[in-house]
């Protein structure tokens, strides 16, 4: 109920259009009813007059019939146009509203949801909310208006008839949907659960193809999948049957109403208390009144799912933001030292801290290399620096003030970042670059691409900067995607540059070229360079080695690189247990969508 009210409040700004849509819809249906009823009355009155040889005013009713016909035709068209206009206006307001509310939550408060999951559900949920008016509210309200008008007319002719037909309409419009809900509740739950199960099995069928081929020669997984699919279809069939029952039920009530009119009306006509021509009129009125009731079973059927969607959306945006913005933020100095002081970080639900006791000072112009194997906590540093998460214990400061005292968006203006999970938008290369600097000139874009070593590639594309990248940069390789992200980071003019694995997916030679270009371009910026490879580290002022969320070693590159000097891989150390870490063959792919299969093609 609370969710329903909240949803209605969201719709409130569009009440004008929505109200108009309901009115036009009710008007069109009423015109249809009036057309049928008047026609019935008209032919009966004409026949009676003809039989009695009496005269009759046929101008008014025949003009009314024509008028109703016009109103009905125009009304039906108007109903659709106004209804969709109202819905689309609502959509155009709902989407930015929703998006703006996700901003403070991202990324930390959204990370517990698997992104595929979150997005797939989000899409369905938003769609359902957007159609709530057109599918539920509009037919519901229109039905109320139409029934009120129709039953009033009936009541003026015969109270008993109005009560009986009102009851039938109530049973059809409210009773049947409730019955559907009751009968279908279990099947509907089973369909929801079955769909989730089917999806999970399908993902396994696709992503686990290699393992299933080898370890499941009897195709037991496939059998389970077939069974789940069959059961799901059977449940859906049951639901469809229940809905079909309700649909047929509306017809049953409509025609029963007609019989009721005959049963009550005929004796009154014979008794002379009801004009003869009113009998076919009332019969047709009763019958066509149910046009307004007919969409209700379907509308009510979608109601629970819509409310569940609303609940999920509201629950999501009601999450507490992971970091609090200060009430009176300090102005952020133009430049300064970014420092971590005994900073720690424990992810919610994790058994141990991801970062412990991190001390690090990135003074203006200084370059620090952070190395360590994956999972050593390097990327958590970036989350703290960007204030996506708050350190506990300890603090992160910029120019001497805790970054918690700044507006975090202002703070981030001082940083240019290539994150580990940098996102390329489903847009052109140009649009992706302009994210960093909307006013950048084409020359500036090209310079950044050049520094990132990807200008040749872009120039070779038939559409150049206007090449479309596809979802998640699907149309370019992992290495190119990485370099495009790098170019974007270089575009942003900020005193601090943070690069998290900038050369992932690049081969050795390209890696060296790219790093050379980047380090040259970032000459004036303080640099936090996170990597698990060696290239580029010799140009750092300091190297920090991380393991298990702690800094385990630090020093000048000369000292640090000597430890892993070229001799390390000599024959003498073959089979040595001291070697760890490695370059997964398909880093390029994992840097990409993450949706594809893990089994890398050769």
């Amino acid at each position: 109920m609370k969710d329903a009210l909240r949803l209605l409040r969201l719709m409130a700004p569009h009440a004008g259009w929505m109200g108009l849509a309901v009115l036009v819809s009710a008007l069109a249906t009423l015109a249809h009813i009036a057309l049928m009823a008047t026609s019935g009355w008209f032919i009966a009155a004409m026949a009676l007059a003809g039989a009695a040889g009496a005269s009759v005013n046929y101008f008014t009713p025949s003009a009314a019939i024509r008028a109703y016909a016009v109103v009905r035709t125009v009304g039906r068209y108007g109903e659709r146009i106004v209804g969709h206009e109202a819905t689309l206006k609502f959509v155009a307001a709902l989407r930015p509203w929703f998006f703006a509310r996700l901003i403070p939550l991202a990324p930390a408060a959204l990370e517990d949801q698997r992104s595929g999951d979150l997005l797939a559900r989000l899409k369905g949920d938003i769609d359902r909310l957007e159609f709530a008016f057109l599918r539920i509210l509009s037919p519901g309200l229109a039905a109320v208006l139409v029934l009120a008008a129709g039953l009033t007319v009936l009541a003026l002719h015969d109270g008993g008839m109005a009560v009986g037909i009102g009851l039938a309409a109530l049973l059809a419009g409210l009773g049947l949907p409730l019955l559907v809900h009751r009968l279908g509740a279990r099947a509907s739950r089973e369909v929801t659960a079955g769909t989730a199960q089917l999806n999970a099995l399908l993902v396994d069928h696709l992503e686990g193809r290699a393992e299933l081929d080898i370890y499941d020669p009897d195709r037991r997984h496939r059998a389970a999948l077939d069974e789940t699919s069959d059961t799901l279809i059977a449940r859906e069939h049951r639901l469809a049957g229940i809905l079909g029952f309700a649909g047929a039920g509306v017809g049953l009530f409509a025609q029963s109403s007609l019989v009721l009119v005959l049963l009550i009306g005929a004796p009154r006509v014979l008794a002379g208390t009801l004009p003869g021509a009113d009998l076919p009129m009332l019969a047709l009125l009763a019958l066509s009144l149910f046009e307004a009731v007919a969409p209700l079973p379907l509308a009510f059927q979608t109601l629970p799912a819509t409310l569940a969607s609303a609940r999920r959306i509201f629950d999501l945006i009601d999450r507490p933001p992971p970091v609090k913005e200060p009430a009176a933020p300090k102005p952020v100095p133009e430049a300064g030292t970014l420092a971590f002081a005994h900073a720690g970080l424990t992810y919610p639900g994790a058994s141990g801290p991801a970062l412990t006791d991190i001390d690090l000072a990135l003074a203006p112009g200084r370059r620090i290399g952070v190395v360590g194997s994956s999972g050593s906590g390097k990327s958590s540093l970036v989350a703290l620096a960007l204030r996506f998460r708050a350190p506990a214990p300890g603090e992160v400061t910029f120019a001497g003030s805790s970054i918690a005292d700044f507006n975090s968006d202002d703070l981030r203006r001082r940083m240019a970042v290539l994150a580990q999970h940098d996102h390329l938008f489903a847009a052109t290369i140009r649009e992706n670059l302009l994210v960093a600097d909307p006013d950048a000139s084409p020359e500036k874009l090209e310079a950044a691409l050049e520094c990132a070593g990807v200008l040749t590639f872009v120039a070779a594309q038939p559409e150049g900067l206007d090449t479309f990248l596809g979802a998640n940069g699907a149309k370019v390789s992992g290495g190119q995607a990485r370099r495009l992200g790098l170019a974007r980071a270089l575009l942003k003019e900020a005193p601090l540059l943070i690069l998290d694995e900038p050369t992932e997916g690049l081969d050795g030679e390209t890696e060296r070229d790219v790093l050379e270009g980047v380090l040259g371009a970032a000459r004036d910026q303080a640099l936090l360079f996170i990597t698990h490879r060696r290239a580029g580290l010799e140009a750092m002022d300091e190297i920090i080695v991380m393991d298990g969320g702690r800094i385990v070693a630090r020093g000048a590159p000369g000292d640090m690189l000597a430890i892993v000097g070229p001799g390390t891989m000599g024959p003498g150390t073959i089979g040595s247990e001291t070697i760890s870490g490695g370059i997964p063959e398909d880093t390029a792919r994992s840097a990409g969508s993450g949706q594809g299969l893990e089994q890398a093609p050769p």
Partner: protein, 614 residues
């Protein structure tokens, strides 16, 4: 059914972001024809139930006529013969009977309509799942799982209304109006002519306007998908947007995109809804005309009341099935949108080896032989170019070489995940193409580079193909893979659930679970793809020892990225650009310096080792 439905805005056909493709108009038409043919291809499967559904609908139509007849009779008797209802008990009873029968017939038609669709969905899903298996792991690697899952789940579901609503509605749209005409003409040929005269306009206008809007509509679908995609894309990229201080700008953009979509869509809808408005116009005007014509003829005494009322009652029923088809047309559009993705899945090349019927001969031990194997992909990439080698029974061979040299391809060929383009892969002397693949695979233990955990218990994950895994062997396999501590720490032990993608287990643990799978199976051929990559230092040594134990006495094929895995091999094949460049024992290759530096950059040191050394 259909007639009651509101005109919906088309929902996007699923898939977060399908992009508009540039095509000529002609291409769209042939495409639609092809997709239509694909959809109708399952008619045979559904024939019986479709027939029943149509029969029930036809019965509904006849009952509607009977009902109109009876109502007109009763009202006529009351108004003009002043007879009480009691003298027309039979007609009243027949009317109630017709109403009840109609209720049953409407319901039955829905039921059988869905039954037909259900059969189609089953057949379709099964066919596509077969296709997935034929495409194989290598072919699937190129695809986006999310999109394929959407096609297999919602895509198949979207075909339902095509069979349960569109096909019945399109047949009834012809059948029922004819029945109404047949009923009307004997009673009143004037009204019959009015109906007949307006009828052809309806399909003509629907086609004329529909044609124009369908092309627009197709575009509209893509636009809607694009708008949905835009929002989801923005949500996915929120962290990036925040890092670039661009989130605020994106709010405006989301609003602009949605508003542009509204304007474009309304422009299309204003035209699209005209087709239904035309239908409404003709239906309404002809009902009004019929009423007025009948009225005046009644006044002039040229007609009796009964046929007049009968015809008036039937007139709306003439147009109802046409209206129903108008709304069901949307079901067709939705199904065609879905069919596009289903056809795309079905047209993915079947790369996997399909095998034959020959059982795997020979003793338990397995030998493998590659004879001049070439592997090229449909897009032209050549993964292997003339590779020949033999692995004797009980021998362990390691493959080394840079990324893309062809290591994974050799493993995939040996496992039957992909068919050689030319040349042969032989197992125990018989080409894999002739062997019963299930039989071969029962004798393989395989650890992939990125193992997949299935939704289910730990035990089910270690023995995925077995209904009742042997507990003792499970415990041993867990211990061998160095997972004993992890399992002991889980509250449910081996019965604990590990979720999709291995929720609750770290990457390293998931990898060890895959190693446990191999131990559990203890098959004569062991295929390892970078077996110890994701393990930490301590357990790497343990697992390495365990793997050596697993390999002992068995045939081994190991793609190596790390020196530790190479050291235990009997022989090493060094690959570059799809060819074997050299081979020899580890000692021999190390002596000649083949394994350091350029040839095998994968084995070059990484900084992660700094800490180890320091």
């Amino acid at each position: 059914m259909g007639a009651w439905r509101v005109w919906y805005l088309p929902l996007p056909p699923g898939g977060a972001c399908s992009l508009p493709r540039k095509r000529g108009e002609g291409r769209i038409a042939t495409d639609r024809k092809r997709l239509s043919a694909f959809l109708s291809g399952f008619r045979g499967t559904a024939r019986a139930d479709l027939g029943r559904s149509l029969a029930a609908s036809a019965a509904t139509g006849l009952l509607v006529i009977a009902q109109a007849f009876l109502v007109a009779r009763i009202i006529d008797a009351v108004l003009f013969r002043h007879e009480a209802l009691s003298s027309h008990g039979l007609e009243l009873a027949a009317l109630v009977g017709a109403i009840l029968l109609r209720f049953g017939a409407v319901w039955a038609s829905e039921h059988f309509g869905f039954a037909a669709a259900a059969k189609v969905m089953r057949a379709l899903r099964s066919r596509l799942l077969d296709r997935v298996e034929a495409i194989g792991p290598v072919g699937l690697a190129e695809a986006r799982t999310g999109e394929l899952v959407a096609a297999l789940a919602e895509g198949v579901r979207a075909v339902e209304p095509y069979y349960s609503r569109y096909i019945p509605a399109s047949v009834l749209a012809v059948m029922l109006p004819v029945a109404v005409l047949v009923a009307v003409f004997p009673f009143d040929w004037v009204s019959g002519l009015i109906l007949l005269a307006t009828a052809p306009f309806i399909p003509v206008f629907m086609i004329l306007i529909g044609r124009g809007t369908e092309a627009l509509n197709q575009k509209q679908w893509r636009r809607l998908a694009r708008m949905s995609g835009h929002l989801l894309d923005a949500v996915q990229g929120l962290a990036t947007l925040k890092a670039f201080n661009a989130a605020g700008r994106m709010v405006t953009e989301v609003a602009t995109v949605a508003d542009d979509y509204r304007r474009d869509t309304m422009a299309v809808l204003r035209v699209a809804f005209l087709s239904s408005a035309v239908l409404e116009f003709f239906a309404t005007v002809s009902i009004a005309l019929i009423a007025i014509f009948i009225g005046f003829r009644l006044l002039w005494g040229e007609m009796a009341f009964f046929p007049g009322l009968f015809v008036l009652l039937l007139a709306p029923e003439f147009y109802a099935p046409l209206r129903a088809m108008g709304t069901a047309y949307h079901a067709r559009m939705e199904a065609i949108g879905a069919a596009e993705r289903l056809v795309a899945l079905e047209e993915m090349p079947a790369l996997a080896e399909s095998g034959g019927a020959t059982p795997l001969p020979g003793p338990e031990a397995i030998s493998i032989r590659f004879e001049d194997v070439r592997l090229a992909f449909p897009d032209g990439r050549v993964a292997l170019d003339g590779v020949s080698f033999t692995i004797g029974a009980g021998e362990t061979v390691a493959l080394v070489g840079p990324s893309g040299a062809g290591k994974s391809s050799i493993l995939s060929l040996a496992l039957g995940f992909v068919r050689p383009t030319s040349g042969r892969v032989l197992v125990n002397g018989v080409p894999l193409a002739e062997l019963d693949l299930a039989d071969v695979r029962r004798r393989i233990a395989y650890v992939p580079q990125r193992p997949r955990l299935f939704a289910g218990t730990l035990a089910a994950n270690i023995a995925p193909g077995e209904a009742a895994p042997d507990p003792a062997r499970l415990v041993r396999a867990v211990a061998d893979a160095g997972l004993a501590d992890v399992v002991a720490a889980l509250p449910g032990g081996l019965a604990s659930d590990v979720g999709e993608g291995g929720a609750g287990l770290s990457g390293g643990q998931a990898h060890r679970l895959a190693v446990a799978r191999a131990f559990y199976r203890a098959a004569p051929l062991v295929v390892l793809d970078e077996p110890t990559a994701h393990l930490d230092r301590e357990s790497e040594a343990d697992v390495q020892t365990a793997l050596s134990r697993l390999l002992a006495g068995r045939t081994g094929l190991v793609a190596a990225h790390r020196l530790a895995s190479v050291a235990g091999a009997d022989r090493i094949l060094v690959l570059a650009a799809g060819r074997i460049v050299t081979e020899g024992t580890p000692a021999h290759l190390l002596r000649h310096g083949v394994l350091d530096g350029d040839l095998v950059p994968d084995l070059a040191p990484t900084i992660g080792e700094a800490e180890a050394a320091g």
